[in-house]
Symmetry: C2
Subunit: 110 residues, 2 copies
């Protein structure tokens, strides 16, 4: 299960992926776990946070050193295939926002 | 329940609030609902998205026209009091990241 990501001093890039699922979730859980592991192997990966309200909204935030690293991850072949399955099957609607984190604060990451 | 926010063309500001809760959640649900409603009344408010994995990570993203609007919301007295209660009671750990959204895409917001 996902916790709070330990990220470096800003600036860095956050990709905020917000989605509502369909009820056709065959293969989803395996693909999501695989994508989380595969993302962590990519150059420029900084961390990941994910949560989902049961039957409701899911928010996944991945953190990257820069926008190029985030874009390369979008284009990784196995990820592109998962995105296609997501659009066709798993997600009723979604939004992806690419943002530059400029400031952060909080408790120390546990 | 929160859905996907309908936000304008970038740039705008996202405040990503990631947290793990304690088990001392007296008053939390009412305060969260009140803060979501109060935020929506503030100048510069654009939208809100929230999700929580039961027993796990919560992610709340609020969207603002600019960093000043986000900062003013942080300083609204009733919100500042809720933040204090959050730090003291409801959140075992949390992270707040202030980011500028530069690009977005996805399905049309339902």
């Amino acid at each position: 299960m996902s916790g709070i990501a330990s990220t470096p001093r800003p600036p860095y890039v956050a990709v905020i992926f917000t989605n509502l699922q369909t009820e056709e979730l065959d293969g989803y859980a395996d693909a999501a776990a695989r994508m989380e592991a595969l993302a962590a192997e990519q150059p420029g990966y900084l961390g990941f946070e994910g949560s989902r309200t049961p039957g409701g909204l899911g928010i996944a935030v991945s953190y990257w050193t820069d926008a190029d690293a985030a874009r390369r991850w979008k284009d990784v072949a196995e990820h592109a295939e998962a995105q296609r399955l997501g659009r066709e099957r798993w997600y009723a609607s979604y939004r992806v926002r690419i943002a530059t984190v400029e400031r952060e604060y909080g408790t120390d990451t546990p």
